[in-house]
Every structure is written in structure tokens, then in C-alpha cells.
Symmetry: C2
DNA sequence: GAGGTCACAATGTCCGGACAAGGGGGGTTG
DNA sequence: CAACCCCCCTTGTCCGGACATTGTGACCTC
């Protein structure tokens, strides 16, 4: 009886947003960024309702499709959940970042470690059967070969062996010592699109043990990865070995609905 | 001069689609499924153009937004690539399935292996610090504990230890021997939404070696995973050990644009 | 009081249109 | 002949509206 009809239902959100129509950045993107920031810093509490799309659109002077596009992008990121008949609510946190095509260099840097790289080899060679199959080229064809040792605090973490199609990109040893391979590829105009990975484990050979400062037979984490650009062309085949005592893969993933 | 204006530009696709407006399944979904099937079986060749959205909409009697929604869902899956000013192309194959929240049981079954499960333990216990932190509950609180040995062809592949919040779900040993844990959770109405995983490696302890029929010190692949439902509530914490000689994680992933 | 029924609220789907932005090709111009 | 410019094609963004579908809660009935 004494209830006002506009009274919010408890977990409603009073956060205000605004968009700039003169900005060249799309309206839906402006909104999604503001929403994401509000979720990130807790102004939009986990579990709280977002308020219905119609009102939100009205308050911002946007159309519903635009608002929906903004919300959808965050649903895709796993930050929001839509429930028909209920509303859109903020996921109960714990979600950080979904799995990306992780660069070891970026991973280490993000973890606060200061990664260093020692280039062991930067040359060309003939593709063996495995490399040829991964890169979709003929066996014996010329490919670029890079072998690197990745270190943090002066300690080796991983041995990285990468094969790239010939002529794709000019790799300077100096650049490789400075940053990660993916960054170099991206700045060369290559758009990384997808990758196929296999992660396993095996015991260290004598040579690997020597290189990584481990005992022979110590458990190592292995990863093989073929990366494709947006045309589906293989642009890189990596065969990496990590010291299990110093590195593990961590990632978040979403369930495809 | 002698060119007809409707002449396709070489790599155009002549594939026909159709939608049923009386079906309850959404129009955009009908179209995206047909597109996906056409890509899967090669009728839409890798690299070929899809034809512009306007025409496609016109031919199907749909609006452009609906067609775009269908196409977008396949772009999200990594099957298509859009280029402004050019058109939408089929990715040059190699893409199979992006990473899903993989169930070992489903993985093995999909690989043609016939997985079997031996339940070693199905009880409740008090959460230790690690489990409590993962499930977001108090240390010492009661949790369900399941330990299973997963086998193929009579050979052990992995030892699986799972902790679940008390009262979430009634786990019958008989069911656990028949199928995977995730299937049981899903059929209990729990919607799995996201997971946080860590994959590493270590040497087998004497007990693990015994259980998995490996030598002591053999390299093992380890995974720890906390799974969340769509409200962000932790619903499962798994601590698994795989025989590196018989199993590796394989997955495809997309680069977030 | 327990049950079902109905209205409401919210997202899901779909339409038709409009203009902007980027890429490519062809024509024009030097 | 080459460089530049302009036009056209395609996707990107955005709008306003319409109806369907699905949870929820209140109301009514038994």
C-alpha cells in the first residue's frame, strides 16, 4: 500500500553513467567501459541488479539496442549474467581475466617479475616433418628458427623454441632480447587470431636439465602451440619447456552457453 | 565492359540457405547453424566471401540485424572474420573447437576411448585451508569429498580429487562410476559458468606412483580447478593428477580482439 | 492455508531504416 | 606511365518500435 512504484527492489544500483556523443569512440563501447570500471572497483556490487535496459537507455539518451550491445559485450566477458524475467546482474566476482593467447613474457611481466631473454639461436633451417605439418608447408622448406632462454631474477624459467614461416617477419636478436615474440609479430602488422595448444609434462633430458639448471629426470611442463592469423594461416609454431618448479599455467575460462 | 553486374567476384559463395518462420528456434540461430554446417562440411570454402549482409538478408527474407546476429555468433566462435569494406570470409580452417570447460570424461569419450571410473572415496570431511579458500567457506566447515581413479582400457589415466560445498548435490557412487562429475552437476540443475585453472607438473610421490601404476618420481601433470556457477558461487574445487605418459591437455583458443 | 491463475516486469527476438568509416578499384590528371 | 583522387562497396554504429517468452509475485479461489 504505502509503496511508491519507483522504489527500487533492494539490490538496485544507483550508479550514474554518461556518454559523449562527440567522441569518436562508439557509444556502446563507452558504456561498456564505464560498466566494467564500475564493476571492477566495486561501485556495482556483485549480485546487484543493473536496472532494466529500457530505463537505462532512457536515462542515457540511448536506444535499447545500443545499451544491449554494451551489456552483451560484458556478458561475453563473463562479468554479467542476464536472466529473462529477472534482469541483468553482476557476477559474484572471482572472475578476473578469461584465457587469452598468453605470452610468457607478458605473463611474467604482469606477475611483477622482470623477465629477461637470452637468445640462443636466431637463424633459418629446413622444416622437419613435425614443423612442416604444424606450419602447413613442405618438409625441407626453409623456416626461421629462434631458440631463447627466458629468465627471471637471473634464474632460467623456460626454454622456448619457435619456428616461423620464411619471410614472414624479420627478427632481430636485439629486439628478441628486449621483448616478447608476440609483441614483435603484432607490431609487424600480424594479427594473431587463434592458436592450437597442447600442454603436457615429461622428465628432463640431460641437455634440458643442463640448460634449465635442473636435475636430470626432473619434471618439466611442456607446451606446443601453433598460432594462426586472421586468415587462418599458421604464423608460428612453438615448442616450449618450462621448469615445473618455477612456473605453472594459470587461466580463467568461460563455459560456452 | 562485357561484365554482368551481378557476376560474382571469383570466390563468391553460391550456397543457399533457408529459414522456417514457424519454428520456435530463433531465426538468427537457424541461419548460424546452417552457416556453421556449410563451413564444417566444406560447402563454404575456407577464404571464400560470404556475400554482403544486405543481399543475404534480402534473399532469406530477413532483416540485416538478424543476419548480422547470426554472422556475429560465428565470428565469436572464430569461424568467420569480418573486414570492413571487404566482406565476411570463412577462416582458413584449422579451427576446430575453442577451449571449453573440459570434462576429462567427455574428453576421453570424444577421443574414442571408453572411460571408466573407480570411486575410491565418496564422503564428507572438514575443509582444510586450501579447500576453504578455494570454495570461499570457513576452514573446518563440512564439504563433500570425492576421489576417483579414471581409467581407459583398464589402465589408470588420472587421479581426481574433488571437494564440493556441503548440501549442494547428492552424489551417488553408482552415478559417479557411470558418468562424469560435471554431467551430474548439470543434471542437478547447476549451471556451470566459469572456472579458474592452474596447470603444472611435478614428480610422482610413492603413493601416487602406486595408484597410477607409474614409477616413483615419474613426471605427472597436475591441474587445480575451481568452478563457479552463474552467480559466481564456487561449486567445485578439483585437484587432479594425470599420467603425463598417457594424457595431455589439448585445446584451441581465440585471441580476444 | 494451500493451490492455481493472472498480471507485471524484464530480457529475447525481429524489423526497417539511416548514416559513418574504411578499403579497393578505376578514372583522371600530371 | 605513374600518382592521385573520387566513387562505390561493405561492414560498423545507431535509432525507434513491435511482439514473444519467461520468471515473479500478488490475487483469487477452494
Amino acid at each position: 500500500m504505502g509503496k511508491r512504484d519507483t522504489e527500487a527492489a533492494g539490490t538496485e544500483s544507483p550508479v550514474q553513467f554518461s556518454v559523449d556523443r562527440n567522441s569518436p569512440v562508439p557509444l556502446y563501447f563507452q558504456l561498456s567501459q564505464q560498466l566494467e570500471a564500475a564493476i571492477e572497483n566495486g561501485r556495482l556490487a556483485p549480485g546487484s541488479l543493473l536496472g532494466n535496459e529500457i530505463d537505462l537507455a532512457g536515462r542515457l539518451g540511448l536506444s535499447r539496442p545500443t545499451v544491449r550491445q554494451a551489456i552483451q559485450s560484458l556478458v561475453d566477458k563473463g562479468l554479467l549474467v542476464r536472466r529473462r524475467g529477472i534482469g541483468t546482474q553482476v557476477v559474484h566476482s572471482q572472475v578476473k581475466r578469461p584465457l587469452e593467447l598468453s605470452s610468457l613474457y607478458d605473463d611474467l611481466e604482469a606477475a611483477g617479475q622482470k623477465p629477461a631473454t637470452r637468445v640462443l639461436l636466431n637463424t633459418t633451417t629446413e622444416a622437419n616433418a613435425e614443423v612442416a605439418a604444424a606450419l602447413g608447408i613442405a618438409e625441407g622448406a626453409e623456416v626461421a628458427l629462434v631458440e631463447r632462454l627466458r629468465l627471471t631474477h637471473g634464474e632460467p624459467v623456460a626454454h622456448l623454441r619457435n619456428h616461423l614461416p620464411a619471410g614472414l617477419l624479420r627478427l632481430e636478436t636485439a629486439d628478441l632480447e628486449e621483448t616478447g615474440l608476440y609483441r614483435l609479430m603484432r607490431s609487424a602488422g600480424i594479427t594473431l587470431h587463434s592458436a592450437r595448444q597442447a600442454v603436457g609434462a615429461r622428465a628432463a633430458t640431460a641437455e634440458e636439465a643442463e640448460r634449465l639448471d635442473e636435475a636430470e629426470g626432473a619434471p618439466l611442463l611442456t607446451m606446443q602451440r601453433t598460432t594462426f592469423d586472421d586468415t587462418g594461416r599458421p604464423v608460428e609454431f612453438g615448442s616450449h619447456v618450462y621448469r615445473a618448479s618455477r612456473y605453472a599455467f594459470e587461466f580463467q575460462l568461460l563455459v560456452r552457453p
